[in-house]
């Protein structure tokens, strides 16, 4: 049996942007079904009538010639290999009555393959649409000009997820330099909120990340984060981003209901 064309030939089209920084994506097949489908096609086999032994052999050959090892991904591929062998074993067992079509052990696998094939086809069509749009420019696809500094008008208001994400980034960062002992200081939500409002009155805006990072302890940063969420919710402040991937700034709302200064 020749397995020369089983070696990974080219990286998948549209290799992910560098920002992904995820090695795994350089593999040729997106999951075990993808590989299985490829083998079935290569052997010109009817998808409803897979000769399991043949396919399993090819499948294992592919696994053997893979160089990069990523445990999670290998596990998926190995699971599929095990499933194929299990199906074969089902065929080998002597039975009193021949299996009906419904009982065919291949059926669940075939169903999944058919579903997956549909998704693949749909993604091919989406890709065509993407290609069409690549040559079309709209104002939404424009890189934004440097944002105005004085007014918050042209800024993008950020969602809760943006805020949460930034916050978790800080948490991650803090994990490494968190050797100090926590002080037993009590911070009340109300005090913190007043502090933030006062700070905003003084500086017009604060940088969301900088502010949280400047907090003394994790606990304080956490309280600060909740305060900001609470203030945004009650429409006292607004969180905006000058451009995508830029820092998030918090402004006092002009039309905000008055709040007592401490």
């Amino acid at each position: 049996m020749d397995n020369t064309d089983l070696t990974p030939d080219a990286p998948p089209e549209g290799a992910p942007a560098a920002a992904d920084g995820y090695r795994v994506k350089l593999e040729v097949f997106e999951g075990p079904l993808d590989l299985l489908l490829f083998l079935i096609r290569k052997k010109k086999i009817d998808i409803h009538d897979i000769p399991i032994a043949v396919i399993t052999r090819e499948y294992l050959d592919y696994l053997n010639c893979k160089v990069n090892i990523n445990l999670d991904r290998e596990a998926e591929f190995l699971f599929m290999a095990a499933l194929l062998i299990y199906i074969k074993s089902q065929f080998l067992l002597p039975r009193e009555q021949p299996l009906t079509e419904e009982e065919d052990p291949r059926k669940p696998l075939v169903d999944r393959l058919l579903d997956y094939q549909k998704i693949r086809a749909a993604s091919v069509l989406l890709k065509e649409k993407e290609d069409e749009q690549l040559h079309v420019w709209k104002r939404t696809s424009l890189p934004l000009l440097p944002a105005p500094v004085e007014e918050g008008l042209d800024l993008i208001e950020v969602s809760l997820f943006d805020l949460a994400e930034s916050f978790f980034a800080i948490l991650k960062k803090r994990e490494f330099d968190h050797h100090r002992l926590l002080k037993g200081k009590d911070i009340s939500l109300e005090d913190k909120m007043k502090e933030i409002i006062a700070l905003l009155r003084e500086k017009t805006f604060i940088d969301f990340l900088e502010y949280l990072e400047s907090q003394e302890s994790m606990e304080e940063a956490l309280v600060g984060f909740f305060c900001l969420l609470e203030l945004i919710k009650s429409h006292l402040v607004i969180a905006v981003q000058e451009r995508l991937f830029h820092s998030i700034k918090v402004w006092l709302r002009k039309d905000a209901p008055r709040m007592k200064t401490p």
């Binding site: 992910p16 010109k44 749909a122 690549l134 890189p143 997820f161």
Partner: protein, 183 residues
Amino acid sequence: MREHLKEIVEALIFISVEPLTPAKIKSVLPDVTEDEVKQAVDELQASFEGADHGIHIAATAGGYQLATKPDYDPQVRRLLQIERKSRLSRAALETLSIVAYHQPVTQAEVNALRSVADSSFTLHTLLQKKLIKISGRKKAPGSPLLYKTSEDFLIYFGLNDLSELPSQEEIARILEQENNAET
């Protein structure tokens, strides 16, 4: 038809950064009927399709938006100094198709359909690109998050609404082509 309606609509679409919906147009022009707005847009679109325009009016995400014609892509890119737009990876496209056709879906459902153990990385990337959004939680054990395609998804693929997604027939045709190519 109202005087200068076509010109007004053109001005409104020109100044909108996001796709301008007929309802938005109507909110500015209270005494114009929806049909009149539609007719004005149709006429505008027809006049822009002519050879003497470098832009046209694209219907995306349920609204209208000015867009450059594909023929002038090289020049536009030169002006913007952009090599080319980045594309989505295959994993991202597959995951997007699943979300688009099965929405709202949970991560576990996406995993099962792609038969991979973990789609969280891809879903996260799509969330960041704002092509999908979280639409709530499923009433199931663990209340997993549900994902849906966003408005940016429609804009990205130049679709007017979800009904413009490739139909089952188109998908079947692609499959047939692929099978024929091999047998």
